[in-house]
C-alpha cells in the first residue's frame, strides 16, 4: 500500500465563476488497483460529487477514456502503480467540451463518425440461402481496424483536431478504412467522399499521437496513409 496524491481536474457547470480547477485527494493505492478503482474509491469514500463516466470496467466500452499524467488512456485498463508516480494527475480528454469534471461531450466524435458512413454498404443483393462470405485472407485485412471501441482517446490527442473541431479525426478514418478494406463492402466511394473534405484526410500531418494514445494498440496513422493512397489512386488513376 502506498499513499498517492490524485490531482483531479474539476469543473462544475453550475459554478461557472470558479471554472476549471485542480483538487487533490490522498489515496492509499493497493496493488492491482486501476485508475478507475482509485476514482471509485475517491468518489465512494471521499467526495461523492466527483463525476466521471464508466461502464464495463473491462476495456470494452471506452467510457472511461481520460488523460492521466498527460497521456490518454482507459482508466479501467491502467493499473495505478504501473505509472510509477506518487502524484497522478487526472484530466478530462483534451479537445472536447467538458460537461462536468472528467465527463466530456463526445458529440463531435459521433458526428464525424456518421460522416464516414461507418457501416457495410452493399449493392449486390444478399443470397437468400447464405451470408456474405469472406476468405480467411480477406478477413485478415481488417485485423487492427475492427477492434476500435470509439473511446475518443486518439482524436483527443490529435493536434489537427485541437486546431479544427470539425476535423474528422483518427477514429473516423480508422472506421472508414475498416469498411474500405472489407472485401464485402461495395461502398468505397461513399466512405471516401466525406474524407476528401476541407476537414478531412488532408488535415492529417502524420503526427502519430493517435498511435501513441490508442489503448487498443491500433494504428490509425497507417489506416490514414492507406486512405490517402486510395484517394490519390482514384484521382490520378
Amino acid at each position: 500500500m502506498a499513499t498517492h496524491a490524485f490531482k483531479i481536474n474539476r469543473y462544475n457547470p453550475d459554478d461557472e465563476r470558479r471554472g476549471h480547477y485542480m483538487q487533490e485527494y490522498p489515496l492509499d493505492v493497493q496493488k492491482g488497483w486501476t485508475i478507475l478503482d482509485c476514482l471509485n474509491e475517491i468518489k465512494w469514500k471521499q467526495d461523492g460529487s466527483l463525476t466521471f463516466r464508466r461502464s464495463c470496467r473491462s476495456g470494452i466500452c471506452g467510457s472511461c477514456a481520460m488523460t492521466v499524467n498527460g497521456v490518454n488512456m482507459l482508466a479501467c485498463e491502467t493499473q495505478a502503480l504501473t505509472l510509477k508516480s506518487s502524484t497522478i494527475v487526472v484530466e478530462p480528454l483534451r479537445g472536447y467540451p467538458v460537461i462536468k469534471d472528467l465527463v466530456v461531450d463526445l458529440e463531435p466524435l459521433v458526428e464525424s463518425l456518421y460522416a464516414v458512413k461507418p457501416y457495410l454498404i452493399t449493392k449486390t443483393p444478399l443470397p437468400t440461402d447464405q451470408e456474405r462470405f469472406q476468405s480467411p485472407e480477406e478477413r485478415a485485412k481488417i485485423d487492427g481496424l475492427y477492434e476500435c471501441i470509439l473511446c475518443g482517446a486518439c482524436t483527443s490527442s490529435c493536434p489537427s483536431f485541437w486546431a479544427d473541431k470539425k476535423y474528422i479525426g483518427p477514429h473516423g478514418f480508422l472506421k472508414a478504412y475498416r469498411f474500405v478494406a472489407d472485401s464485402r463492402d461495395e461502398g468505397t466511394r461513399e466512405h471516401l467522399e466525406a474524407l476528401d473534405d476541407k476537414h478531412g484526410l488532408w488535415r492529417c500531418h502524420t503526427i502519430f499521437n493517435c498511435v501513441e494514445a490508442c489503448p487498443k494498440d491500433l494504428n490509425p496513422t497507417k489506416a490514414i496513409s492507406e486512405l490517402k493512397k486510395e484517394l490519390v489512386r482514384e484521382k490520378i488513376g
Binding site: 458526428e111 456518421y114 460522416a115 476528401d196 484526410l201 490519390v232 484521382k235
Partner: protein
C-alpha cells in the same frame, strides 16, 4: 443526428504533388551539393560555375529547382497555417501574401537565370 456539410478539398492532387516535388527536391539538392562541393576540381567561385549554368540544360534544371522549391516550401507553409487560421478575410490575406511572395521570387529567379550569359560579363 445532424449531418456535416461536405466541403470539397481537392487535397488529393496537391498532397500527391507535394510528395513528388519532395522527392525531386531531394534528388536535385543532392546533385547540387555533390556537383558544387565534391565534384568541382577548382576553387568554388564565379569562374568555376559560369560555363555550367549558362547551358540550356542547367538553366532548365535551375528554373525547375526554383519553381518547385518555392511551390513545395510555400505550399507547406500554407498547410501549416491553414490549420490555425479560421477567419475568412485573414485566410484570403495570408494566402494572397504567400502567392505574391512566390510570384516575386519566381520572377526574380527567372530574370537572373534566363538571360545569364558569361560572354557578356
Amino acid at each position: 443526428m445532424k449531418y456535416r456539410e461536405h466541403v470539397r478539398s481537392g487535397g488529393a492532387i496537391l498532397w500527391f504533388f507535394q510528395r513528388v516535388t519532395g522527392i525531386y527536391l531531394a534528388v536535385v539538392l543532392f546533385l547540387h551539393v555533390w556537383i558544387l562541393h565534391y565534384a568541382l576540381k577548382e576553387e568554388l567561385g564565379f569562374a568555376a560555375v559560369k560555363d555550367r549554368i549558362a547551358t540550356p540544360m542547367w538553366k532548365t534544371i535551375d528554373i525547375s529547382f526554383l519553381v518547385i522549391a518555392l511551390f513545395h516550401g510555400l505550399y507547406g507553409l500554407w498547410i501549416v497555417l491553414d490549420d490555425y487560421i479560421h477567419k475568412g478575410w485573414l485566410r484570403v490575406f495570408i494566402f494572397g501574401a504567400i502567392a505574391v511572395i512566390a510570384l516575386i521570387f519566381v520572377t526574380l529567379g527567372i530574370l537572373t537565370i534566363l538571360p545569364f550569359n558569361p560572354g557578356g560579363y
